[in-house]
Symmetry: C2
Subunit: 204 residues, 2 copies
């Protein structure tokens, strides 16, 4: 049965709990590839190059844009973020579930380019106030950065209906189980199957 890989896109404001949710998903699914974004922003405490992001200079990033090396890229909070095309193609060809943690702009671009492969989820905290508390509590960002993140969250929430699913992360266990279910069924989207070969194999 001919089948392609699939793409699962997660978006949602920094502080909504995406990373914790993803850790739970990884325990419960197999054969996935997590797309590591490339960025020009400074690493936070504990972040590692090649694990959390590929950290590059503005010059390097702009060079890659020129050479068409990005599936999508954008400037957010004054820094570049992008997804390199090569590893994604490789993983899809192996039939893997490729997981993206990207923003609303990135989601729109990937959807436009690879619509049939994409399932997408928007994740939020129950409210902006709770997001603010979480960002203050995690103590990794300056007040100015937190304030930028909140402004951005206010804008991004308006796009949630462009996503297939909407998860309000107020109960970690419930939200994790929803995300695991989505990850699992992302692989049986009918659009992922090769129409003609299915019908031919089925009838004969």
């Amino acid at each position: 049965m001919e089948k392609k890989g699939a793409i699962l896109i997660l978006s949602g404001p920094s502080g909504c709990g995406k990373s914790t949710l993803l850790k739970n998903v990884y325990k419960n699914i197999s054969d996935y590839y997590f797309s590591i974004s490339t960025t020009t922003r400074e690493p936070r405490d504990g972040e590692k190059d090649g694990v959390d992001y590929f950290f590059v200079s503005k010059n390097e990033f702009e060079e890659d844009i020129k050479n068409g090396q990005f599936l999508e890229w954008a400037e957010v909070h004054g820094n570049y973020y992008g997804t390199s095309l090569k590893p994604i193609k490789k993983a899809l060809n192996k039939g893997k579930l490729v997981i993206f943690d990207i923003d609303v702009q990135g989601h729109e671009i990937v959807r436009k380019k690879l619509n049939d492969l994409v399932t997408s989820v928007f994740i939020t905290t129950p409210s902006l106030k709770i997001l603010e508390q979480r960002l203050n509590n995690r103590d990794t960002d300056s007040n100015a950065v937190i304030s930028k993140r909140l402004d951005n969250a206010r804008l991004e929430i308006k796009s949630f209906q462009k996503y297939d699913y909407f998860i309000v992360n107020d109960d970690l266990e419930k939200a994790s189980s929803e995300l695991v279910s989505i990850a699992n069924i992302t692989r049986i989207k009918s659009k992922l199957y090769d129409n003609e070969s299915i019908i031919n194999n089925w009838i004969h």
Copy 2:
């Protein structure tokens, strides 16, 4: 948080195992309403009126068509099949997951009318040959009826890509778990949420 009910549509040839799969789903989900179709065909051995179908006469069915009582209806294998509108509306207003077991034509009509609410799954056996074996083994239909069902299956499989998901029922446990996952996440489709109230509640 304002939310509507949701619709899960299952289609697939008679003999693909839908009823057995559904029994497994019911054990694992809550707050659903299974839509009982109305038909003019004769009950099979063991089938009960009001449980498997509402069995009515051709005259009664045609009267209901005239009065706009059906969400969808069609003539298949020389008999009428349809879905009454009233109980569906009631269940959706209560926020329930409404499950339909309808054919390809019915799916197209319901999707056209209630697109935002619908998640759909096409279920098949691994091949037409295996479908034929299952229909012969269950020993409920005459050869003429089986032959009609196989002709119909040959046509219906061609529409599988109009559905959101495609399940090949060759491993009952795997297929059940996929269907349960779909049923669960059908309730968190972003389109089911009232856009404005979410955004207002979230920001304030």
